[in-house]
Amino acid sequence: MSSKAASATLARKGLSDLAIRNLFIIPTILFLILFNVFPLFYSLVLSFADYSATGSEAPVWVGLKNYRDILNDPDIWENFFLTGKYVLITVSGQVAAGFGIALMLNRQFRGKGLVTTLLLLPMMMSMAVIGLFWKLLWDTKLGIINYLVGLKGFVWLSSPDWALIAIAITDIWMWSPFVMLLSLAGLSAIPQHLYEAASIDRASRWFIFRRITLPLVTPLLLIAIIFRTMEAFKTFDLAYNMTGGGTNTELLSIKLYNLAFMQWNTSKSCALAYILLIMVIAISNIYIKYLNKARER
């Protein structure tokens, strides 16, 4: 009996496949619509109004005013610029460190599993708590970083020039393991015979790296880069706990938080949230496309 015919004759017993399918899928979709789509729709409406969550007045329709205000506000452009700089520093740092460590790890040795697991620990931790604790590490007097590097009394988190760099380094420490994990998966999937063939042809190390290693790792590396770009763009926990957004570190998410929950400018914050949302959805679109490609391989 073919499998199709089998399920057809059996469909009469118990619930039909169609009923099971709907029963299994629809609750999840409804749940996500209720907790994600509906609230976002609500905030879209509010972004065209003048409204504060602490005030008693009802929302007043103002059209595109909030969006115009945001796009004409040089301060917010400053936040965008800062966030871009942060994304660039952290992602390139993570790729360099993560890929570098993966290249070193990509060989057999005793204790490899343990070393890899220990290296992966930081990315599983809470960014808020890690950020809080790194405040001590960066401390001018008590901090072990100044002590280890030999910079006596160097000011990191309270300095407008260095605070963002310090946060970025912490971010790189936390998330290089992510790039490492994906690179390692890519590296270990490269068939050994390609390397053997290349060594028979007496290809140089650089040639092997450029023509074999790099192209074969690139798909996974790209996934890592896009994902980290998106996450760096959204950074809130880490920076907020290290500087509270002061000393030239007010990233977009922190700006948004201050606008919404400190100044209670609810409708304007909804408009800024939507601008961020569109950017994030654009990046995540690309990300998921690459994930799907990886899945099909």
Partner: protein, 312 residues
């Protein structure tokens, strides 16, 4: 390969392995620092330059679970002699215990909220994953994309309307509100990860069972679910860690009653001199479960961080 070449190759290999171990040790310094600071007295934690050798004490942990006043000279020698061991530790640092702190309560909130939301997300997620894996769904990829994209939303963006909504229906700062929120957050993750695991189980198993007279649901329950045990465990641990670690939503949508441990720890910095050893103790207790869970999860990490897309 000639012997000389292979010898050289071995030497290079050895150097690189030594290098990678060195990198790992440097990488672990922050963790070492958390652990050691958690066992330092207040004075040792505030030494310049930082001390590596010190007399370990559990005082920070006592301080973590208590609220104290800093008035000195309030204890007579008799009172001191009668005090319990943990009270003595605090007296030694010139403070006295007033009452219990909220840390244990916040820790408990974290456990409750993370566990229940994990349970819900895993349950719903597994069913949905089965639905997508086994049946034809019109626009399947679009639905899956929709489900995953909800996970990518910046927390601050979601928090604003959720805050208004929760306030209106009265579940701001409640366990229920946080559980729902974390469930929705983990649900998309659970669907994707579980779908990967279910796709690996051949359809033929269920079809054979159905030929033997099982209904579709029985086949799912008795044939598929038992084989998903590892996958479900991995998904559950991942979801639990995510909920456990979450900060931004908890910061914005709780204030006291349902506050979890993460937003609570930074709020302890408070006024005056920062008591780093107590913060380290709180951090230590908070991170330890994650470190242990990560160890158990080590073979599924790749799958987890790519939402089940890359299986190795």
């Amino acid at each position: 390969m000639p012997a000389v070449e292979s010898k050289r190759y071995k030497a290079i290999n050895g150097i690189i392995v030594a290098l990678v171990v060195a990198v790992m040790l440097i990488y672990l310094i922050p963790f070492y620092w958390i652990c050691s600071t958690a066992f330092k007295s207040r004075l040792d934690a505030a030494t310049v330059p930082p001390t590596v050798f010190f007399k370990p004490t559990v005082t920070p942990f006592v301080k973590l679970v208590t609220k104290r006043s800093q008035r000195r000279n309030v204890v007579t020698p008799e009172q001191y002699a009668e005090a319990k061991w943990y009270e003595k530790l605090v007296y030694d640092e010139g403070e006295r215990i007033l009452k219990e702190s909220h840390y244990l309560n916040r820790f408990w909130n974290s456990i409750v909220i993370a566990s229940i939301s994990t349970f819900l997300a895993l349950g719903l997620g597994t069913l949905t994953a089965y639905g997508f894996s086994r049946f034809k769904v019109a626009g399947e990829n679009d639905w899956l994309f929709f489900i995953l994209s909800t996970r990518m939303l910046p927390p601050v963006v979601v928090a604003i309307p959720i805050f208004l909504m929760y306030r209106k229906i009265g579940i701001f700062d409640t366990h229920m509100g946080m559980i729902f929120l974390y469930t929705s957050f983990n649900l998309s993750f659970a669907v994707w990860l579980m779908k990967g695991f279910i796709d690996e189980i051949p359809k033929e198993y269920e079809e054979a069972a159905m030929v033997d007279g099982y209904t579709r649901f029985q086949a799912f329950w008795k044939i598929v679910l038992p084989q998903l045990r590892t996958g479900m465990a991995a998904t559950a641990v991942f979801s639990f860690i995510t909920a456990w670690n979450e900060y931004a939503l908890a910061l914005m949508l709780t204030s006291r009653k349902a506050q979890t441990a993460v937003p609570f720890i930074p709020s302890q910095i408070g006024s005056g001199l920062t008591d780093w050893s107590t913060i380290a103790a709180g951090t230590f207790v908070f991170l330890l479960p994650v470190a242990i869970l990560t160890y158990y999860l080590r073979n599924h990490l790749l799958r987890g961080v790519t939402f089940g897309a890359i299986r190795k």
